[in-house]
């Protein structure tokens, strides 16, 4: 681990952020740029899946990617932590910078990237191990062996994910035995255990019932002050509930070759996107005229 390790303290409430913005509805003083993309295009082989995405994600904000299905929001999200590397034909064109460093430079290691930029998936995917071992997996592969520290990390992460009280008596039970909502919070705890800088979430609540969804959204608000969050969602109300900024993606259809390419249509503060969209396509989408 290159960064000095944060003091793992098990607390029930998180320390207040220092000198960084709270989510204020009106004024817009953006924090440090965490991600910065310029003319980002993503190809699968010769097929261009996403074209010309330029946006900046700011520190300690929740940024939402919304848009109809197939418009590339998940593809762009996965580009931010090099998960598209797992697809053999995927290719990235344009710039993607993380805190000033190019994510796709030659000597960049995807492992180092993913250590800092974590991801929660649409369908909860706990490992077939105990709850404790699920959360401890990340710290363990990063070299943490001390039992005491692991215990602290596991407790802290589970508390941050609002799961501690429910599972503290059965940490040795299998992670597969949890309900959908609990399993997703376990995956969030697992992601937080390595103390990333950013948490990417790919439709984290779409497989969950409304109560579990509400819990996840509350969680996002609570951890926002320590992390930067980017969330893909197809639920517009969710975007308005949780996000500070929203990026609206849509599909360009090439009638000649009948291919669909995703692109960024508009990006701005959430209130502006939903109440005063500048682009007609944005307006059509957020008012529900098109799906």
């Amino acid at each position: 681990m290159e960064q000095p390790e944060q003091n793992p303290v098990a607390t029930t409430s998180l320390p207040k952020p220092a000198a960084l913005q709270e989510s204020k509805p009106v004024s817009d003083t953006p924090g440090v740029a965490v991600f910065d993309t310029k003319n980002l295009s993503i190809y699968y082989g010769a097929f261009r899946a996403v074209t010309d995405v330029s946006l900046t994600v700011h520190e300690n904000e929740i940024t939402a990617f919304i848009g109809p299905s197939g418009c590339g929001k998940t593809t762009v999200l996965r580009t931010l932590n090099r998960m598209n590397d797992l697809i053999p034909t995927a290719r990235v064109d344009g710039d993607v910078h993380y805190r000033g460093a190019s994510l796709y430079a030659k000597d960049v290691s995807p492992i180092a990237v993913r250590r800092r930029i974590g991801m929660v998936f649409q369908k909860p995917n706990p490992f077939p191990k105990s709850i404790y071992d699920n959360v401890a997996y990340g710290p363990r592969i990063n070299g943490e062996r001390n039992k005491g520290r692991l215990n602290e990390i596991v407790e802290r992460s589970l508390r941050q994910a609002a799961l501690w009280d429910e599972v503290k008596d059965r940490l040795k039970h299998s992670g597969l035995g949890l309900s959908g909502g609990q399993a997703q919070r376990l995956c969030i705890a697992r992601t937080l255990a390595v103390e990333p800088d950013v948490v990417l979430m790919d439709e984290p609540a779409s497989a969950l019932d409304p109560i579990a969804t509400g819990r996840i959204e509350d969680l996002m608000h609570e951890i926002k002050s320590r992390y930067t969050i980017v969330i893909v969602t197809h639920n517009m109300q969710q975007a308005t509930r949780v996000s500070d900024r929203t990026a609206f993606f849509s599909v360009l259809v090439d009638s000649k070759s009948d291919t669909r390419t995703g692109t960024l249509v508009e990006y701005g503060r959430t209130e502006q996107i939903f109440q005063d969209p500048h682009d007609s396509r944005t307006q059509a989408y957020v008012t529900g005229r098109v799906g």
Binding site: I111, R114, N125, F127, P128, I141
Partner: protein, 326 residues
Amino acid sequence: MSTVVKADPVGPAGSARPLSERRPLGDRGFQVLTLACGLLVLVILVLIAVSTTQQSTSWFSAEGLKIFTNNWNPAANQFGALAFIYGTIITAIIALVIAVPVSLGVALLLTEVVPYRWARPIVTVIDLLAVVPSVVWGLWGILVFAPWIQHIYASIGSGVNGIPVLGSLFGPPTSGASFFTAGIILAFMITPIVTSLSREVIATVPAIDKEGAYALGATRLEMIRGAVWPHSQGGVVGAVLLGLGRAMGETIAVALVIGSSPVITSHLFAPGYNMPAVIANQFGEASGEFRAALMGIGVLLFVFTIIINVIARWIVERSARRKRGA
């Protein structure tokens, strides 16, 4: 028989329907025919058990429990078969020790490491390995491999002679045709089946679990240990057991390279014997109780391999079922 207008009630294929009066004769006849062919499997298995046991009763009754003694002397009418059981187990263990890591390595290579384009040629190599007949392995084994490896055995043997454990395992006597050579050849022969079954098992690990591990910043080895291995443990055990069954039953290659010497010894480089090999080599000249003894060894072999295969298939099915349910 005309195609009936009031046709079969529509149902998904495979749903068991009781024979109904309205079904035309030809249709029922076809069903009975297929059932008979399916039952053939069970019938054959039962007949194997019955007929071979029948032919070997004179051995079982003459020797009783003495069949499990190391006392094989046909000339003196003594047929204790322990040496062959020992040889079967030893060569199978040697084969597994060599083949399992190799097979797992290749299976993981195919599922996790190589890009899709290179998978095909690698699988072809495995298929080629599988299609080489047992007798060709034996021919090559006894005429080419054994003479060559004999020198290696001799050097190792003289090197460890006298050292406590190693000496009794690898010390002299050494011979090209030996337990160890048979084990090596068996390893070549069981690698394809263990590899392909392990590959099937590993391929059922959900991609989303692997992605979860990678998303936490895991290296490939860490991902395999965290996401792949817990899922595929059971299935791999089943694949290994199937390899064990195959190693125990492989006949001709072993008959040619094992050395044909019914002894129980810890020296792995020494000549030995095992169950299928003695049957294959001696059956031609055997008669009377000798033949019954060989048949009886066949019965034992049948029982062992059936048990191992039943356990193996049950394990593989159970882990597949758990995956579908989870």
